[in-house]
Symmetry: C2
Subunit: 100 residues, 2 copies
Amino acid sequence: MARTMKRLTDDERRAALASLHGWIETEGRDAITRRFAFRDFSEAWGFMSRVALVAERMDHHPEWFNVYRTVEVTLSTHDAGGLTEKDVALAKAMDAIAGI
Amino acid sequence: MARTMKRLTDDERRAALASLHGWIETEGRDAITRRFAFRDFSEAWGFMSRVALVAERMDHHPEWFNVYRTVEVTLSTHDAGGLTEKDVALAKAMDAIAGI
């Protein structure tokens, strides 16, 4: 547990971002952000519902903003005060669910 | 349809806000906002899931931001460029689902 709660080093962060799709560093925070766009609310909600189950299982939850067919996600680990492996794992799961 | 898409007058807006619980006018926009707080993510997600079904049935969707156990909602009618009866109806449904 302690291992996964360590903030990523610069090298680890670079490697993580390279392994993800469309995620960028969040401005002004030690976090990562991605904007997902879907066909409509139904498709966006389907994505969010699947992610909600993963998040609950991981006990690691996103900050996310939804308007109709778009979902903007920010990931950071509150207890660690920044980006950790947990965020990278959740981002990867989101990429997979979004089909990218 | 045209009737429900008309922006509320000042009197209608005042009456609407008085009939709702905890909603305030959104700063800098013709919209209303409420912050809901739940026990945990599971309860927040349960609320959002029930609201998602209502929103889809109404074909009127919220702007909402969720972090763990909190859900911040903003309602406005895009096509009307401001607050309409549709927003008040959705806000009332959210109040009912949240149990307040």
